[in-house]
Amino acid sequence: MLLNRGLIRVGLQWPPKPRNGVPTEPEFTIEVVRDPTGCNTDPVYGLNSAKPTVSVYRRPRIAANLKYINYEVGSFNAKRLAMINDRDPFTGKYMSMNIMSDAREPSLRTQAISASHDHLQVKDELTADTLDRIVNFESQIYAAQVDSHTGGSLVEQGGPDGLGPHNLEKQERGLGDNFGTPLFHSFAMWNPAPGETSGQREFRASVARGHDVFFKRPFYISDTTHINTVGMGNPMKRTCATCHNSNMVGTDLSAGWVDVGTTNLPYARVTLDNPWSEEKTELPLFKITCNADARPHTFLGRVIYTQDPGRALISGRCVDVGSIVMGQFRGLAARAPYFSNGSAATLRDLVDFYDRRFNIGYTTQEKEDLTNFLSVL
């Protein structure tokens, strides 16, 4: 899984830990339908062990550009409609909950502590000084694509100020889904720029068109929990930038867990086992059954099949099954495969997923332009 999909195992306690000091009562039961790795059915480490644990498989996230990811917010969270954001226990501040794919850690400090226990199996607690140094180190890293084989330098003078790590360092967080403040700014100077080779010119023009597809081309966003359900209606006619709205990084400025269908059936990519193929199922499959009183998953109802329940493993809520926090759109060309479960091998696969999922009907040219645009971020 690490080699094929870039995934690592994440073992999560079930039922979930208390949040903000309040016990979490799960609204659903979990059954293991398929368990290719054996972890979920393992008598010592599995779901029915003495310490019930759910094992899911996820891509590590980029530890850079964190001022755009981890920040103080107001108390209420639109994604939870009436619930409050998690607080950083060190500061008492409500936090953006965008660090991890299930938003289980509210701050870089708590994430460092959790990683030291779970991944590193450190016996002693990290000292305050060590935590400070980890957080300070992470917080000064900016990462973005700096060069394109075809497009040339992405950090040259006079180039788009939505590109390159220096621009990420200089700019600030903000809502970028509108014409006043487009999140990736403008690529107009690439249409064409002086001194370009013909190959560069063609590629850069494609990137500029791809930006416009991302930012301006509407489609019907539908059946996406925590997007359609936060007061915009289902479907809604908007663009990629509506959900991927945060300046420079393309995450969601509010806590960004969303069920776009990357892990929940019927939209998730599945491998169909059969006797005449060598490709085998890699990911587990869980059956989630919502309790009779629970609010069901808005678009999948009370029985859901999923490869990763995502946020629901932390919140215990049916409505959160399959919701994953958006990843940032930086250094993408170097970080295949995509989505939390590595189900898109290439940027083109990622674009194809959205095209199928929302029945967008991109032309071949639009797909190529969008892919090129994503590759330079």
Partner: protein, 291 residues
Amino acid sequence: MPRILSRRLFNVALPLVLLAGTVDAAESQRLGFVACPVFQDTNTVPCWLAEYQGETYFLGIQTDSGGWTPPLQGHQVLVEGIVTAQPRVCGGIVLASPGSVFDKRPSGKSAGVDLPQPPVISTMRELDNSCRTMLPENPRYNTLEPRRGPGPGNAQIAGLQQNANAARGAPADAPKPPFVAKTFELHYEFDSELAGLTINKLQEALKYAGDIKAKSVEVVSYRASVKLSNGKQLDEIAKIAELRAKELANVIRMFGLPTGTELKVRVVAVVQPGNGIDDWTRRRSDIIVRP
């Protein structure tokens, strides 16, 4: 309708209608029905419609999050509104708000005329995948403003900010003794335990509790019914009052109460019958802060 009953309804309805602002009380006809929402695209933002007894009604347009909540396809929708005399929009008779606390802001213009505050909309809890009608753009209905980009325009952002500031208001002076018990009402969509649109009342309640070092904060949650236009009573699910109370109490615990303040929870599971006029008011929780 007997004249005396009509008069009584008029008397009850008048204050609500005045709240709505755009509806002629004498002309008002209340409607409550459950139907599949219909999505009608236009050259700007889509319209939301619903059909009842062979007639098409206009509910509102797609907006940004907050304010009214447009319907969700895949679910039926409960509509509680007032028929207006405005010109049809997207082919539908325009429904307006019955004057509810869910009202936040006008949802746009059609042919230069302000749309009224939309009716109260509740997305029904369970899936209904028969509700999937999407109608393509029809040039006859291309009357909606504003044309917009991928997100809110600058004017709209400024308006949202203004609303947020107004809602926040100037910091109120701390109350002075003698302190009194105060009740803060939170309202819900039908069958929902999430008081998303009125959750600011919780913050007001907790602020008051902190200011007066309250002896207790009591959550009282209710289960209601809607009297539909066909005369039937539609009850909320049996456990909704309990779910509302539990949800609210958990949020209060997460916020934290002042030291020494007791949290009490009470569930009124008996259905509050609907009257077809202001049924949304009974889908509620009260937070009672006592000194």
